[in-house]
């Protein structure tokens, strides 16, 4: 097996046993990025010099016996996380000249653990998209079929890890932006509980929904990386002050007796039959291992997409008001006056989808419409959260597909925003209720002669990451879907 198909856990073991150095790894992955990243457009910035410096420092640290379990392992960050002294664009023209003056807490924590920064990955502009086609830096392609999307918004992170250009990458998930690309590229993608991971230095889209997480090759890797990124941060006012469990130690919890609820509303007419079949097979595999499987109903869940498309744009319109062409970011040429400066800087700096969401949010928050849209959506959101809460009195986790279809073709859904939005129909509920959720590979469907990966989604009560990771890890002991690598990237 070659270095680039190894998991983070395997790379860490190899570093500890001195089978290779961190510098070997950095050079190997940088070589692959140079050769293979352009055809996928997975990176906005490759930080080669920084990677080599980080790797040398990690090797010295390991030689002194001062390394931790992740010291020397290379990683990539979604370009939504601020990195001190490094271009941080959020894939927008607005921030195409923005050199972050500080590290996001997630960046700082992985750095402190001795991880090596390979670069910043491409994404949908300001994380607004489900196909990674809205980036100012161009669309990202899926390594399983380069004519298809990798999912979004963490599409660059997904493509980079799936193509073995990085062992793991960070992502953010506001409505499915970690889980859906993970499903479409055969990765494990974890969105933690709201407040579990600091949002400090993570460029805000919708503050009551945004949560940082990881895209990896295994649940074990997600456990390792979550442990290194989670925890209280006084710099994020919504960060929860609760101890971080040893997620790796808890991976061994057996499946026997775990109560799993199959979400009836997720097996709807929009679900492609081939995808539904693989998800049912995976659930059956869990049942055969002793999990107690039953059906649960979450009747308000079908309203999650319209609820999200009120709440998220409302928060986005407020958050993105900071981009005014005055203090940082794009400024238009020769503004006539201050109003002209604001309007043209923002009109030129933001892409179409971002402008559409800002305007949707401005409308639903405007005088006379607030009660009918925003307040109503926050009430429906409460109903959705209550549905989950009720289900969790009867089962430990709920389960279903991550996305209704496998990866679709580039351009297939760009003409109608609603078609694109409905792609996140199974992932949005967890964000609205602040719940942790994970997508893991559960097989492949064939389309036009290509093998396309399918994701299985597990959602749990607040702070149940250990349980989600353990069920996923146990499933990954039974199956090897997660170890499959796309042709041409082995």
């Amino acid at each position: 097996m070659s270095l680039h198909t190894l998991t983070v856990a395997e790379l860490a073991a190899g570093l500890e046993a001195r089978r290779f150095s961190s510098l070997d790894l950095a050079l190997h992955f940088l070589g692959r990025i140079e050769r293979l990243a352009p055809e996928l457009n997975a990176f906005v910035t490759v930080t080669a010099d920084r990677a080599l410096a980080d790797a040398r420092a990690a090797d010295e640290r390991l030689a002194r016996g001062e390394g931790g379990p992740l010291t020397g392992v290379p990683v990539a960050h979604k370009d939504i996380f601020c990195t001190d002294g490094i271009l941080t664009t959020c894939a927008s023209k607005m921030l195409s000249n923005f050199v972050a003056p500080y590290d996001a807490t997630v960046v700082q924590r992985w750095r402190a653990a001795g991880m090596v920064l390979l670069g910043k990955t491409n994404m949908d502009e300001f994380a607004m998209g489900s196909s990674n086609e809205t980036s100012f830096y161009g669309l990202v392609r899926n390594p399983w079929d380069r004519a298809r999307v990798p999912g979004g918004s963490s599409g660059g992170s997904a493509a980079a890890v799936a193509a073995c250009l990085a062992p793991a990458a960070s992502g953010t998930d506001t409505g499915g932006s970690i889980r859906q690309p993970a499903a479409l590229t055969n990765l494990t993608g974890l969105k933690p509980t709201y407040g579990r991971v600091s949002r400090y230095g993570m460029i805000a889209f919708a503050s009551s929904l945004d949560q940082g997480g990881v895209l990896t090759r295994s649940a074990e890797d997600a456990a390792l990386l979550l442990g290194a990124m989670a925890g209280f941060d006084p710099r994020d006012s919504t960060s929860v002050d609760a101890p971080v469990p040893d997620y790796v130690a808890e991976l061994g919890q057996p499946l026997k007796g775990v109560r799993i609820g199959v979400i009836r509303e997720f097996f709807d007419q929009g679900l492609e039959p081939g995808v539904g079949k693989l998800v049912q097979d995976a659930i059956e595999a869990l049942r055969l291992q002793g999990a107690a499987v039953r059906e649960v109903s979450l009747p308000s869940l079908p309203l999650s997409v319209p609820t999200y498309y009120v709440v998220a744009p409302a928060e986005c319109s407020s958050n993105l008001s900071r981009f005014d062409g005055v203090r940082f970011g794009h400024r238009c040429d020769s503004p006539r006056d201050l109003l002209d400066l604001y309007k043209r800087s923002r009109g030129e700096g933001f892409g179409d989808e971002v402008k559409r969401r800002i305007m949707t949010g401005t409308y639903v928050l405007s005088a006379g419409y607030y009660d009918a849209y925003y307040l109503k959506a926050q009430k429906v959101r409460q109903l959705i959260a209550a549905d989950f809460e009720r289900a969790f009195t009867e089962v430990d986790v709920v389960i279903g597909p991550t996305a209704p279809t496998p990866a679709f073709e580039l351009g297939a859904k760009t003409s109608d925003p609603i078609t694109m939005y409905l792609n996140d129909i199974y992932t949005i509920g967890a964000n609205l209720a602040g719940l942790p959720a994970i997508s893991i590979p559960c097989g492949f469907v064939q389309e036009a002669g290509k093998d396309l990966p399918v994701g299985l989604q597990l959602i749990g009560p607040h702070f149940s990451e250990s349980r989600l990771l353990a069920v996923s890890h146990q499933y990954q002991q039974l199956t090897d879907w997660h170890r499959r690598v796309p042709k041409g990237y082995e």
């Binding site: 309203l303 203090r327 309007k343 923002r346 959101r381 959260a385």
Partner: protein, 96 residues
């Protein structure tokens, strides 16, 4: 169309976004579709339901002691500014 062109022009002004003449019809169309789509929420029975204030129950806004915790880094931060002079951000003349 649930939204008219003048309505969308007013929204764009409130949002401080310049929308080109060519793009305006596209936004009138797509924003109308989005508003029509989210309209289905009005059918949901939310009688007696409190709007969600926070995804986690029982969260309170954390306070901190009123002490200086940050250092002055305006020179570093202003390196990203389009125009500064003497530590101040420059904008077009606001008062004639």
């Amino acid at each position: 169309m649930s939204l008219t062109r003048p309505q969308v022009e007013a929204i764009a002004h409130l949002a401080r976004l310049e929308i080109t003449e060519a793009q305006m019809p596209v936004y009138v169309d797509s924003l109308s579709r989005i508003i029509d789509f989210v309209e289905q929420l009005s059918a949901a029975d939310t009688t007696g339901v409190e709007p969600m204030a926070h995804p986690l129950a029982d969260q309170v806004q954390r306070l901190r002691a009123d002490q200086v915790a940050e250092t002055d880094q305006h020179e570093k931060y202003q390196q990203n500014a389009p125009a500064v002079a003497a530590g101040l951000y420059l904008v077009p003349k606001v008062i004639e």
